[in-house]
């Protein structure tokens, strides 16, 4: 067998193995706790601006506090955020030129970077089981980590926060009652009346 044939066979076998027994992506908990550099944090804030809706201003401090809590308390997150920031910068350079870093891009270009890294998930609407198998082949581990350990947690944090509840017109929500005890029987005041 030629060297090319050997490489091709190995790649096919490796892909076949991954298809049959995908290993779940895990945080690298051997990596220490700690804080991101200022530049890395700037990249993550720029990412959050792309992930969160444009009409609801989310203060930087909200993102910083959330990220710092994770990277300082849960092993593996510092590495995940750090590598994701690097990945976003690399992809920005690939798409827009060598000197382009993610946080310097316009919102539209940041979306292009995210599209480039995460398009697999948007394009293919497979069942979770099949998706798990295919992503091992078609998505780089770093992009998988970006999605699982950075994008999803940031979205969850936002939509669990008062800013996220504002998207559906709620000032009060589970854990923050407001005046609902007095008003729950009436039509909602902040939202369009439906009845």
């Amino acid at each position: 067998m030629s060297a090319t044939g050997l490489i091709a066979s190995t790649a096919i076998l490796s892909a076949g193995y991954k298809l049959l027994s995908p290993l779940p992506l895990r945080l690298d908990t051997n990596h220490p706790l700690g804080a991101l550099s200022e530049q890395e944090m700037q990249t993550i804030i720029a990412l959050a601006e792309a992930l969160f809706p444009s009409d609801i201003k989310t203060p930087d401090i909200f993102i910083k506090q959330y990220v710092n809590t994770q990277t300082n308390n849960e092993k593996g997150y510092l590495k995940a955020y750090r590598e994701s920031a690097a990945l976003l910068d690399t992809e920005s350079s690939n798409l827009f030129g060598k000197d382009k870093v993610f946080y310097s891009l316009t919102l539209a270009d940041r979306n292009r970077v995210l599209d480039s890294l995460l398009s697999f998930y948007r394009k293919y609407n497979y069942s979770k089981r099949i998706q798990k198998r295919l992503e091992m082949i078609f998505v780089s581990e770093r992009a998988q980590a970006l999605r699982s350990f950075v994008v999803k947690p940031l979205l969850r944090a936002f939509y669990e926060s008062p800013y996220g509840w504002r998207v559906v017109g709620y000032d009060s929500f589970p854990g923050r009652p407001g005046r609902n005890a007095k008003t729950y029987a009436e039509a909602p005041q902040n939202q369009q009346r439906v009845f």
Binding site: L155, P174, V194
Partner: protein, 534 residues
């Protein structure tokens, strides 16, 4: 302690709903009480932190604090998830209950008489009715008498009702179109300040996260604290009772309990009350063998641990075009008892209908399951949130000898005692009732114009309500029951067993108010004994 010596009059094992009420009812009338609780006493001031941790870190503060102590095995057709449901702490399962405080219907006590099924209770609704009123006052039940299907009541609800939520009119309209009447729901939750606890402030975490951060919802901690305040009651926590010690005459003289450090202690008293929930009460009786009681204490009938029952629930979830604006309050406000006593109850169980608007997904659920981000995701969240409603039907499980709690022959707990072994299954009566229930909830959802209707709790994957009943059933005949109508063990003069373990049949509705009413009634009986003999 009583005038003549330092011996407590009554030792109560378990500081949950039944134990807490018994403690207060006795201590407030001068009876000296000691309460042994296996778990810790949670500080009320920690409740807001618990809520936060539950909301954002998914930490459940009510899970067993010593997992090795709470091992169990499941041997029946259905793998029974016991540790999802029980709480060992002062307050017991009221720490994570929903707060629903419904009375049983008259017919629930006489299933044999009316439907030729199972057995009748040795007491009737009429016997218990005054105690239901006392229980509603004790727990602070908010309700109104607009339920035409409820059995008669001689007392009004102590607290004003929680009105229907804004979207209940959608259920009302749909139900009315197919001849179903909805009504309000009685809750052991303060609609106004009561018992030194504030009114509900709509933190909306009571049903979804099992925590009220301000204690507006009743927990049995209330009555444990009130009992202690009388000066006649003392509680010992981390007291894991492992044996009830009877003497040769057959009377209980003491209990042995072990603390976390595995040291044993003995607690004597004149009367003992077992209030440790259907599973642990059973295990303790079976562990307490002696020459006098070779099959376990109070078990001459051989029925300790038998006839374990649950409620089962089936739900239909559908999508409607209107936004119901869910989660503005943490609990549902509409129900229907119209089908609790069907004429064909001998074939199909009665069922209680519940109408819910607090149905997931939450905005954060939508976000993490979507592959969109930014403005596209926000639009998706806006469109998807608030359009799902659920109608559920709770049904009765008939007592079945095969459903039982025994001692596991192999697995031991933290203290070296056999773990409880649960054998649990459902029969055709329950399966057919679940199917009928799903048909009914589907018809309501369709009448509301709901689409994309899905079901949960169908017979292939039944969902239990975490209502442990039976195992120490009451009755008049010592050969076919464990306790008498006053909840005294037939075999043992100074042992009472309280809680839902004594239920003969399970009824349709939530058991808590019946547990409370029976406990208050049994306390009255013990007080009579106390005044005569102690």
């Amino acid at each position: 302690m009583s005038k003549s010596d330092n011996l407590p009059d009554v030792c109560i094992i378990g500081a949950g709903l039944a134990g807490g009420l018994m403690a207060f009812e006795l201590a407030s009338k001068g009876v000296k009480v000691i309460i042994l609780e296996a778990g810790p006493k949670h500080n009320l001031a920690d409740r807001p932190r618990y809520m936060h941790e539950r909301l954002y870190n998914e930490i459940n503060p009510w899970r067993p604090n010593i997992p090795e102590r709470d091992v169990y095995t499941s041997a029946g057709e259905i793998d029974y998830p016991l540790n999802e449901f029980r709480v060992k702490a002062v307050g017991g399962t009221t720490l994570h209950w929903g707060g629903l405080a419904t009375r049983y219907h008259e017919s629930d006590f006489q299933m044999k008489r009316y439907y030729g099924l199972a057995d009748d209770w040795p007491i009737s609704y009429a016997d218990l009715e005054p105690y239901y009123g006392k229980a509603e006052t004790a727990l602070g039940v908010a309700g109104t008498d607009d339920n035409p299907f409820e059995s008669y009541r001689s007392s009004a609800f102590p607290l004003p009702v929680f009105p229907f939520n804004h979207a209940d009119r959608l259920f009302e309209k749909g139900c009315k179109s197919i001849g179903i009447k909805i009504h309000h729901v009685p809750w052991a939750r303060n609609s106004i300040p009561y018992q030194g606890r504030p009114a509900c402030a709509a933190f909306s975490t009571c049903q979804s996260h099992n925590i009220c951060p301000i204690s507006a919802q009743y927990t049995a901690e209330t009555h444990i604290n009130l009992a202690e305040k009388t000066g006649n009651a003392k509680i010992i926590t981390d007291a894991n009772v492992v044996r009830i010690n009877a003497d040769r005459s057959g009377k209980v003289r003491s209990v042995t309990y072990m603390t976390h450090d595995k040291k044993d202690h003995e607690q004597k008293a004149k009367i003992f009350v077992l209030a440790a929930h259907a599973i642990e009460s059973t295990r303790l009786l079976l562990l307490s063998t002696s020459d006098t009681y070779p099959n376990g204490l109070a078990n001459s009938s051989g029925l300790v641990g038998k006839y374990f029952m649950e409620h089962l629930g089936v739900a239909g979830i559908g999508k409607i075009k209107e936004n119901v604006y869910p989660y503005r309050i943490g609990f549902h406000t509409a129900a229907s008892h119209q089908f609790c006593n069907p004429k064909n109850r001998d074939e199909i169980s009665g069922m209680k209908l519940t109408f819910r608007t607090n149905v997931r997904p939450l905005p954060s659920d939508i976000a993490i399951h979507s592959e969109a981000w930014g403005d596209d995701l926000a639009e998706e969240v806006r469109e998807s949130f608030g359009h799902r409603v659920a109608v559920s039907a709770q049904i009765e499980q008939l007592p079945n000898f095969k459903n039982s709690i025994t001692l596991d022959p192999l697995i031991k707990d933290y203290f070296g005692n056999p773990a409880p072994r649960i054998s649990y299954a459902i029969d055709d009566y329950e399966k057919n009732s679940l199917i009928k229930g799903f048909e009914r909830v589907t018809s309501i959802l369709e009448a509301m114009g709901a689409t994309a209707i899905t079901g949960t709790g169908l017979p292939e994957k039944p969902a239990v309500a975490a209502h442990h009943m039976g195992t120490c059933r009451m009755g008049s005949n010592p050969d076919s029951s464990v306790v008498n109508r006053n909840l005294k063990a037939h075999d043992v003069d100074n042992l009472f067993i309280v809680g839902s373990s004594t239920f003969v049949t399970g009824g349709i509705l939530h058991p808590s108010l019946t547990i409370a009413a029976l406990a208050i009634r049994a306390a009255e009986h013990i007080r009579e004994i106390h005044s005569r003999t102690l």
